[in-house]
């Protein structure tokens, strides 16, 4: 393979995908099988932070979360629906497609690429709000993963950006993970050389952090089932 050409191919296309191509779920037939385990389906929607850039598919957070849930006695399947480089506009565009996965719970972690491209936080907020509204309309339990922007963008921007998530969560009454990358962002030991993508170890920390919010969502989901 012609390396410069390959590199160029990657560069051109990666730019649509600020986070370059990583690795998605592995191809095992058991994962291809999207029938819910006993209790339900969780779909992790997001960008490369969800997809698991440059880590093995089973090391990305959705796989890790599923294992942890099972260890704790919850039989939920967690589907990785992360697309590297995707912005909140992209998620909004494909939300109908994602709904085909028939999720009971959605963990929505998007917006990082919007921030890295300097997109107006107002747009990101509108998009996330629209996504959550559509999910809620289908009676799906939603967890919004809060994101903070890299500090080099300036206080005004990072401030406005950080306010998006609590605002949407409050407005739509959904569960909020205050900061999805808490304890991981900025820690060289838990991130890859690029400084923004977590390592396998980083994902373990993330799952530990978000687990209480997921459990909260499971309870909400089970309550809904009982109600029906």
């Amino acid at each position: 393979m012609n390396k410069p050409a390959a590199r160029f191919a990657v560069t051109v296309l990666v730019l649509m995908a600020l986070f370059p191509a990583g690795c998605q779920q592995d191809a095992g037939p058991e994962i291809e099988d999207h029938r819910p385990l006993d209790d339900g389906t969780i779909v992790a929607i997001g960008d490369s932070l969800t997809e698991g850039y440059e880590v093995a598919p089973e090391e990305a957070y959705p796989a890790e979360l599923e294992r942890k849930l099972r260890r704790q006695g919850y039989s939920y399947r967690v589907i990785n629906a992360g697309i590297s480089g995707e912005t909140s506009s992209g998620v909004l565009s494909r939300i109908q497609w994602t709904l085909k996965l028939k999720p009971d719970i959605v963990i929505l972690v998007t917006g990082a690429n919007d921030g890295l491209r300097g997109i107006d936080p107002q747009l990101t907020a509108t998009n996330i709000d629209a996504i959550v509204r559509q999910l809620k309309a289908r009676n799906i339990t939603v967890i919004v993963g809060g994101m903070q922007m890299v500090r080099n963008l300036g206080k005004d921007y990072t401030g406005a950006f950080a306010r998006i998530y609590p605002a949407v969560a409050q407005k739509r009454g959904v569960i909020l993970i205050p900061f999805f990358l808490a304890g991981v962002a900025g820690n060289p030991q838990l991130n890859q050389a690029d400084g923004i993508h977590p390592t396998a170890e980083g994902y373990r920390v993330i799952v530990a952090n978000i687990f209480p919010y997921v459990v909260e969502a499971l309870k909400e989901h089970q309550a809904k089932i009982k109600k029906n």
């Binding site: 393979m1 012609n2 390396k3 410069p4 050409a5 390959a6 160029f8 191919a9 560069t11 051109v12 296309l13 730019l15 649509m16 191509a21 990583g22 690795c23 998605q24 779920q25 592995d26 191809a27 291809e32 999207h34 997809e51 093995a56 598919p57 589907i79 990785n80 629906a81 697309i83 590297s84 995707e86 912005t87 909140s88 506009s89 992209g90 909004l92 565009s93 494909r94 497609w97 994602t98 919007d114 890295l116 491209r117 300097g118 997109i119 747009l123 903070q148 890299v150 500090r151 080099n152 963008l153 300036g154 206080k155 005004d156 921007y157 962002a185 900025g186 060289p188 050389a193 400084g195």
Partner: protein, 831 residues
């Protein structure tokens, strides 16, 4: 004791032969001096351009603050004075106008004094960058002004600081090293870094340290030293020679091409001198035989001919050097404006000495064998019209071996690397051997021909007449033509691969992340024709039924099948694509789902038409059958996709759309503003500046290389001409016999013309065969570029060669044809 009269007589008796020998030697020297001298200048210019591209000798990059070990190593080196350094912090930030009304994502470059060590940051005011970029002031790209509606002197909020726009940057030397940028450039002085308050834990910053080494010879050692201190995988140390850039392969290939020309020139010069010399000495054989008959000793001839040849060789060399000097002056005058500013055609003192030495050695080496043969020349050869092959004793083989070793040494000297040098030597040896075999084959074939016309028969016989040395002429001619053709073909191929991939209509504005719902509206807002590329991300589950192990795949060198691919759908080929397997993109006769695959990715798993690939697109498996395999111009700047699906297969999948268009520079800001205002989610990337830098460098260098190629070709042709006229001269004497026998001038002319046609055509066709093969090999295995045979140009080369040989033959024969036979006969008897 030397017999001065004898020496003078030897020279004056065959003035024309002597003149041709001197001229041949002179030409060889001019070529060597010119090619080597210019090669040195161009080599220097190439390296300088490579250095300018990075602005430094050594470049260290990291996404984190430098480790203590590396910082210490840097400090140590700076203290000893071995390097001068400048730090750079590169990151994006959203900057705002002073009234907070408008903001923009900008690509900041905070630089310490010293940047750039090579090349210049060109400002609109033409002021010195270092003087303008001081604390409190910034230098911005033109788009910053146009998009924020600001002017020079206005102030901008950058992080926590308020900075004054002092100037506009027009050109940044190291721009192409990061091709894409999401925002326009803003230069900030390192003195303001603290005030910006933007570089912290949690900031995404590229830390760069540029170094200029004090002594270029220590470059690699210093780089290794720093690399040893750097944290592997995190801190990357490169030099301007090793740093990957899109231009690196271009530089490498052209440097190799330069040394190739050097070697070929050496070969040509050798052939030129040798054939001129042979012709000169062959004429003397009769004289020597006669003198031997009357008692002259072998050592008498050796002694005297050494003097004759030294005198001739030296005058040739001196004329050559003068010519080289003159050439430099004339080229300087003619091409002063044409050549880029940093390419000076200066032939330095050492270069002259080197060429002088080379010239003398080449003449001496090539003269030795013919001289040695003179010793054994028997008086009897006066009466023999047959060419007596000289005995090939131990000395003969020793000399041949010495000649070979000498050339090998020269090649290594020229290339300065073992492996390529070895390839060169093997290649040239092979070239000559193959030429010899082919020449022999063709001659045997010709000998068997039974031709109907007298003219043709005579012409053919002429080739096999004793003392005509057809074989050696054919070999010399073929080998030198092959060298020249190869230079030409390689240059054309390099040009096609690199220069032409930057056409004036190459897209300069990229729009990313267009949502399908925005497609129509975007097309209207853009207001011009454009190719839209839908992008669907997907992975490969299996190829030909075999599961892809992502982990193992990723260990593969180069590209692999374990990564995420950008898939697209369309029902047509792109402008620079060609189908290499299959009839059309998709098969209308297949009911199955289909895909078209790029050749580069098909090679990874040896995929062919009819094979099946299973993709996974957003959790859904999709099995498709390969309907065609495409290839594309690899160096092209146009976007490309490895996997193309029919529209109906992927239309519903989650996707974004991307497009790239060519927009005239003045129209860019307005368009950019319109689009970003209307579609805030779409990122616009302007690569005009980068492409301009690329194109400028490529164009400049291609011009230099083209000039250089032309020069070596012209010189080579002259050498060939001189050797043809040298060898043909003797042959022309046949004309006299024809005339005595009553042939008309027209008949003689026809015979000679046909004979020359045989020679010219045979050697040109053989040379084309050899050069096509050689160039193909070099393009594929050394340059790694696609090979084009340039059929028409090749045929033109052959035609031109034949015409030239005919013309030279005609000119050399004119004098004799016009003369009366008796004057020639009288001259003969005098000898």
């Amino acid at each position: 004791m030397l017999h001065v009269h004898f020496i003078l007589r030897q020279i004056s008796r065959s003035r024309k032969q002597a003149a041709i020998f001197v001229l041949g030697a002179a030409l060889a020297i001019v070529t060597l001096v010119g090619v080597n001298g210019f090669a040195t200048s161009i080599h220097r210019a190439l390296l300088k351009d490579a250095r300018t591209l990075h602005g430094a000798d050594i470049i260290i990059r990291s996404n984190h603050e430098f480790s203590r070990a590396l910082s210490n190593a840097l400090a140590r080196l700076a203290q000893t004075g071995a390097v001068a350094g400048a730090r750079i912090w590169e990151f994006y930030s959203v900057v705002r106008t002073e009234d907070d009304q408008a903001s923009l994502l900008a690509h900041l470059k905070v630089v310490e004094p010293g940047y750039p060590f090579f090349g210049k940051v060109k400002l609109r005011s033409r002021r010195d960058f270092a003087r303008v970029l001081i604390g409190g002031q910034i230098v911005v790209a033109p788009e910053v002004l146009s998009r924020l509606r600001l002017k020079l002197g206005d102030r901008l909020h950058v992080g926590g600081a308020r900075l004054t726009i002092a100037d506009v940057v027009l050109q940044e030397p190291d721009r192409p090293t990061n091709f894409f940028s999401l925002g326009p450039r803003i230069f900030i002085a390192a003195a303001d870094l603290q005030r910006l308050d933007l570089v912290h834990k949690g900031s995404r910053v590229r830390y760069i340290h540029l170094l200029k080494v004090d002594n270029p010879r220590h470059l690699n050692r210093l780089a290794h030293e720093l690399e040893a201190a750097a944290e592997p995988g995190v801190e990357r140390v490169t030099t301007f020679k090793t740093a990957e850039s899109r231009l690196k392969r271009f530089f490498d290939n052209f440097l190799f091409f330069l040394s190739l020309i050097g070697i070929f020139t050496l070969l040509l010069a050798g052939i030129g001198i040798q054939s001129a010399l042979n012709a000169f000495l062959r004429e003397k054989e009769q004289t020597i035989a006669i003198m031997k008959t009357v008692g002259a000793t072998g050592s008498f001839f050796t002694r005297h001919y050494v003097v004759v040849l030294v005198a001739l060789g030296l005058s040739g060399t001196i004329i050559g050097l003068l010519g080289g000097y003159l050439l430099q002056v004339i080229m300087g005058l003619l091409l002063g404006d044409f050549l880029p500013e940093n390419v000076k055609l200066i032939i330095t003192g050492p270069e002259i000495l080197r060429s002088l030495g080379l010239g003398v050695v080449v003449v001496a080496m090539f003269s030795f064998l013919p001289l040695y043969r003179l010793r054994d020349l028997k008086p009897i050869s006066i009466f023999r019209k047959e060419l007596v092959p000289p005995p090939k004793g131990l000395v003969y083989y020793l000399i041949a071996a010495a000649l070979f070793l000498f050339f090998t040494g020269l090649v290594f000297w020229q290339v300065r690397a073992i492996r390529p040098g070895l390839y060169f030597v093997l290649g040239v040896t092979l070239l000559i051997l193959v030429t010899a075999v082919l020449a022999e084959f063709v001659l045997r074939l010709l000998k068997r021909l039974r031709l109907p016309s007298l003219v043709l028969r005579q012409a053919l016989k002429g080739l096999f007449r004793p003392r005509n040395a057809t074989r050696s002429i054919l070999i010399a001619l073929t080998a030198s033509l092959a060298a020249i053709f190869s230079i030409y073909l390689l240059e054309c191929n390099l040009d096609a691969a690199f220069i032409k991939s930057y056409p004036p209509d190459a897209p300069n504005l990229f729009f990313l992340d267009i949502q399908p719902s925005q497609h129509l509206e975007f097309t209207q807002a853009l207001g011009m024709d454009a190719e839209y590329y839908p992008i669907v991300q997907g992975k490969i589950l299996a190829v030909k039924g075999e599961r892809i192990d992502a982990r193992r795949e990723r260990q593969r060198r180069g590209d692999n099948l374990g990564r995420t691919f950008y898939l697209t759908y369309r029902n047509h080929l792109l402008q620079d694509e060609v189908i290499v397997q299959g009839q059309q993109l998709f098969r209308p006769d297949w009911d199955e789902r289909q895909v078209s695959v790029m050749d580069t990715v098909a090679e990874i798993k040896d995929m062919g038409i009819g094979d099946r690939i299973t993709f996974k697109i957003q959790g859904i498996a999709l099995e498709v059958r390969i309907a065609s395999i495409r290839t594309r111009t690899r160096e092209s700047l146009r976007p490309f996709f490895y996997f193309v699906f029919p529209e109906d297969t992927l239309r519903e999948a989650p996707q974004t759309i991307f497009t790239a268009v060519r927009v005239a520079t003045p129209a860019i800001p307005a368009l950019q503003t319109t689009i970003t205002k209307k579609f805030p989610n779409i990122s616009v990337i302007d690569v005009t500046a980068t492409i301009a830098t690329f194109a400028r460098i490529l164009k400049r260098l291609s011009r230099v290389i083209r000039f250089f190629t032309l020069f070596s070709i012209v010189a080579g042709v002259l050498i060939i001409l001189s050797s043809i006229s040298a060898t043909r001269w003797a042959r022309i004497r046949e004309a006299v016999y024809y005339k005595i026998l009553g042939a008309k001038a027209a008949f003689v002319k026809k015979v000679f013309a046909l004979e020359n046609l045989f020679l010219g055509a045979t050697s040109a066709v053989l040379a084309l065969l050899l050069s096509q093969t050689g160039s193909w090999l070099i393009c594929r295995s050394v340059f790694h570029i696609p090979y084009r045979p340039f059929v028409y140009a090749s045929l033109l080369l052959v035609l031109a060669t034949v015409l030239l040989v005919l013309l030279v033959g005609l000119i050399t024969s004119l004098a004799i044809l016009r003369g009366k036979p008796d004057s020639f006969l009288r001259e003969q008897t005098q000898e």
